[in-house]
C-alpha cells in the first residue's frame, strides 16, 4: 500500500499527539498530583507548627500575667476537693483573724452550690460574724484576698453606733471554689 505525503504527515502528527497524551497521562499528571500532595502535606504541617508557636507565645504572655497577679495577690491554684479546701482556708482564716485583731464570734460553712461556669466546681461560702475596728476590718480583707483558694468576699456588712463608741459589728461571706468530686459531706 502506497501512502501519500499527506497521509504520512497526518500519521506523524497523530502519533505525536497520541504520544503527548500518553506522556501526560503516564508521567506528567501523576507527577503533578504527587507535587500537589507534597505541597498539601507541607502546608498542613506548617499550619500545625504555626499554631503551636502561636500557643506558646500566648502562654508566655499568660505566664507573665500570672506572675504579676501572684506578686500582688498571692498564689493562684486549682480548686481542691471540699474537705481539703475548707480545712486549708479555715486554717489560714484563723491566722488572718489573729493577724488583723478581729474578734470572731461565729463562723460556719454553708452548703456548696454548683459553680455556673464549670460544673466540675462548686462554691462553698463561710459566713463570719465578728467585731473589729475599722482598720482591722481592712487588714483582714487584705489578708483574706491573699489566701490561696479564696474566690471573693461576697458580702460585707459593717455596722456601728455613733452614740456608743466601740468596735464595729462585722458580717462577712467569703466564697471558696472547691472541686465537686471527692469527700464532700454535702454531696448527694
Amino acid at each position: 500500500m502506497n501512502m501519500s505525503d499527506r497521509d504520512r504527515r497526518a500519521l506523524v502528527l497523530g502519533g505525536v499527539a497520541v504520544g503527548m497524551i500518553a506522556v501526560y497521562l503516564v508521567a506528567l499528571n501523576p507527577l503533578v498530583s504527587r507535587y500537589n500532595d507534597m505541597l498539601a502535606d507541607h502546608e498542613q504541617a506548617a499550619a500545625k507548627v504555626a499554631r503551636i508557636l502561636g500557643e506558646e507565645r500566648k502562654a508566655a504572655d499568660q505566664a507573665r500575667q500570672i506572675a504579676e497577679w501572684e506578686r500582688k495577690a498571692g498564689q493562684l491554684s486549682e480548686p481542691k476537693p471540699y474537705s481539703e479546701q475548707i480545712t486549708s482556708v479555715s486554717y489560714k482564716l484563723v491566722a488572718a483573724y489573729q493577724a488583723s485583731g478581729m474578734q470572731v464570734k461565729n463562723s460556719n460553712w454553708t452548703h456548696p452550690i454548683p459553680w455556673p461556669d464549670d460544673r466540675t466546681l462548686s462554691l462553698a461560702t463561710i459566713r463570719i460574724d465578728a467585731e473589729a475596728d475599722w482598720e482591722n476590718v481592712f487588714k483582714f480583707v487584705a489578708a483574706v484576698y491573699r489566701i490561696e483558694g479564696v474566690m471573693s468576699i461576697d458580702r460585707l456588712e459593717l455596722a456601728g453606733d455613733s452614740k456608743k463608741p466601740g468596735p464595729l459589728t462585722v458580717k462577712l461571706a467569703v466564697s471558696v471554689l472547691v472541686r465537686s468530686e471527692g469527700d464532700n459531706r454535702w454531696a448527694s
Partner: protein
C-alpha cells in the same frame, strides 16, 4: 602623550551622502544601519562603519545631511594588525576623506562655502581630487597625471567630480599646487568651466624651523597633514572605523556574538538549570515537611507551657471576673462622704448591691453624696431611698456596683 591617527586609503572606503530625518544619535545609527544594509553589497556584519552629521548647514527637505563611511571589517583588521606589527598602537583609524576634510577646514587659507566645491591637491605626478559639501568630504579620488596630455587628466578630473555631483552644482574648484602646476590649473579651469581659486597653506602650518609651508609641500603631503590636523583638532568628531575605543566596542560585540553562537547549548543549559532548580525546590519542601513532622511527633501537648499554666490562668480569669474589690469600693465611698454625714452601716453584697445607712446633720449632704457617688465609675443607679430630716436626719442610700458580676446560679440567699 602621543596620539596615533591613521587613515584608510579612499578606494577601500565606501562613502554615502544621505539626507536623514533629525533624530537622536541612537535612532540615527539605526536608520543608517538599515540603509547601509540595503545599499551596500556586503552584509553589514562584515562591515565597520561610522557616520557623521553635517552641522552648521541648514537641514535639507527631510532633515540633515549625513556622511556615512564603511569599510570591510577584515580589511580594517588587517591594516590595524599591520600597524600594530610595526609598533604603532593606533588610537583612531579614520578615512582619507576625513583627512582631506580636516585639511580643507584647518589647513588652507580660503573662505568657507556652505555649498558643494572641489579641491585639487596637484603635484607633477598625481592629483588628489576631493568633492566637499558644507566642509565634509563626500569623495576622494587620485588620478595619475599624463604630463604630455593634460586633456586626459582634466577629463578624468571631470569624471571624478561628476561621479559624485553634477558639475553644475560645484560652486568652485580650490587649487593647491606648486607653480609648476599652473598650466595644468589653467587647463583644468578651461576644461571644467569652473572658477578655479588658488589656495595657500594656512599661516600656522610651518616647518620645524618655522619656515612657512609652500603650496607644493601642501599638495604633496596634504592628506597626511589633514590627518594630523584631524587628530589634533577634531579627534572627538572624526569618523573612526577602528582604534582603541572601537576595539573595546568591537571586543564587547564579539563577546556577545560568541555567546549567542550556540543557542541550543544555552537552551539545554537553561533547561538543565530549571530541572536542577525544581529538584532543589522539591527536596527543600520535602526536607522542611519532614522536619516539621518530626517536631510535631515529639510535641507533647501536656508538657507544653500552655498546658502547665492553664489551671492557674483559668483561676486568674475567674478571679478577675468575679472577685469583688471590697477595699477599693469602701475607699471610693469614704472619699466622697462629707463631714456632715455619719454612716451607721454599710452593706455590700454581690446580689443585693450597696446599702448605706446613716444620719446627716445637713439634709442636702445626702444628695451631694449621691451625686458624688454617681460621678465615679464604680457606682451606678445611686438612689437616696429614704431620708428623714425631721427625725434626726437618718437616711438610706442604695447603689449598684458597676464592676461586680452576678452569678447566674444563685449564691445562698438570706441574711447573714
Amino acid at each position: 602623550m602621543t596620539t596615533v591617527f591613521a587613515s584608510l586609503p579612499a578606494p577601500d572606503v565606501m562613502s554615502r551622502w544621505w539626507n536623514m530625518p533629525d533624530a537622536d544619535e541612537q535612532r540615527l545609527r539605526q536608520m543608517v544601519s538599515h540603509r547601509l544594509e540595503a545599499d551596500l553589497p556586503l552584509p553589514i556584519d562584515q562591515l565597520t562603519w561610522e557616520c557623521r552629521r553635517l552641522h552648521g548647514a541648514p537641514a535639507g527637505p527631510q532633515g540633515r545631511w549625513v556622511l556615512t563611511q564603511a569599510a570591510p571589517r577584515d580589511r580594517v583588521a588587517r591594516d590595524m594588525a599591520a600597524l600594530a606589527a610595526a609598533g604603532l598602537r593606533v588610537d583612531a583609524m579614520t578615512t582619507e576623506a576625513e583627512a582631506v576634510g580636516a585639511l580643507y577646514r584647518h589647513g588652507i587659507n580660503h573662505s568657507c562655502h556652505p555649498g558643494t566645491e572641489g579641491i585639487v591637491l596637484a603635484t607633477a605626478d598625481e592629483w588628489v581630487i576631493a568633492v566637499l559639501t558644507g566642509g565634509l568630504t563626500r569623495s576622494v579620488r587620485r588620478i595619475r597625471v599624463a604630463a604630455d596630455d593634460l586633456d586626459v587628466t582634466c577629463r578624468e578630473c571631470r569624471q571624478a567630480i561628476e561621479a559624485e555631483v553634477p558639475l553644475r552644482e560645484v560652486h568652485r574648484l580650490l587649487w593647491c599646487g606648486s607653480s609648476e602646476t599652473t598650466p595644468a590649473r589653467q587647463k583644468a579651469a578651461e576644461s571644467l568651466g569652473l572658477t578655479v581659486e588658488v589656495v595657500e597653506p594656512h599661516r600656522q602650518l610651518v616647518e620645524v624651523g618655522g619656515t612657512a609651508l609652500t603650496s607644493g609641500q601642501l599638495a604633496a603631503f596634504g592628506p597626511a597633514l589633514g590627518l594630523a590636523l584631524a587628530g589634533l583638532l577634531e579627534h572627538n568628531t572624526v569618523i573612526r572605523l577602528a582604534g582603541r575605543e572601537q576595539d573595546r566596542i568591537e571586543a564587547g560585540r564579539r563577546r556577545v556574538e560568541s555567546l549567542l553562537r550556540y543557542p541550543w547549548a544555552w537552551m539545554a543549559t537553561a533547561i538543565g538549570l530549571l530541572i536542577v532548580t525544581l529538584i532543589i525546590h522539591v527536596a527543600a519542601i520535602k526536607w522542611e515537611t519532614r522536619q516539621m513532622q518530626t517536631l510535631l511527633k515529639g510535641w507533647d501537648k501536656t508538657q507544653s507551657t500552655a498546658a502547665r499554666i492553664e489551671p492557674k490562668y483559668r483561676a486568674l480569669l475567674r478571679l478577675e471576673k468575679y472577685r469583688i474589690d471590697v477595699e477599693g469600693t469602701i475607699a471610693d465611698l469614704c472619699r466622697v462622704v462629707p463631714d456632715s454625714i455619719v454612716i451607721s452601716s454599710i452593706q455590700l453584697s454581690r446580689e443585693q448591691r450597696l446599702v448605706i445607712k446613716g444620719t446627716a446633720s445637713d439634709p442636702k449632704a445626702i444628695f451631694k453624696l449621691a451625686d458624688d457617688l454617681r460621678t465615679g465609675e464604680r457606682f451606678a443607679s445611686v438612689n437616696p431611698e429614704r431620708s428623714e430630716p425631721g427625725q434626726g436626719g437618718s437616711f438610706t442610700l442604695t447603689a449598684d456596683l458597676a464592676d461586680v458580676r452576678r452569678l447566674t446560679a444563685g449564691l445562698p440567699r438570706g441574711g447573714l
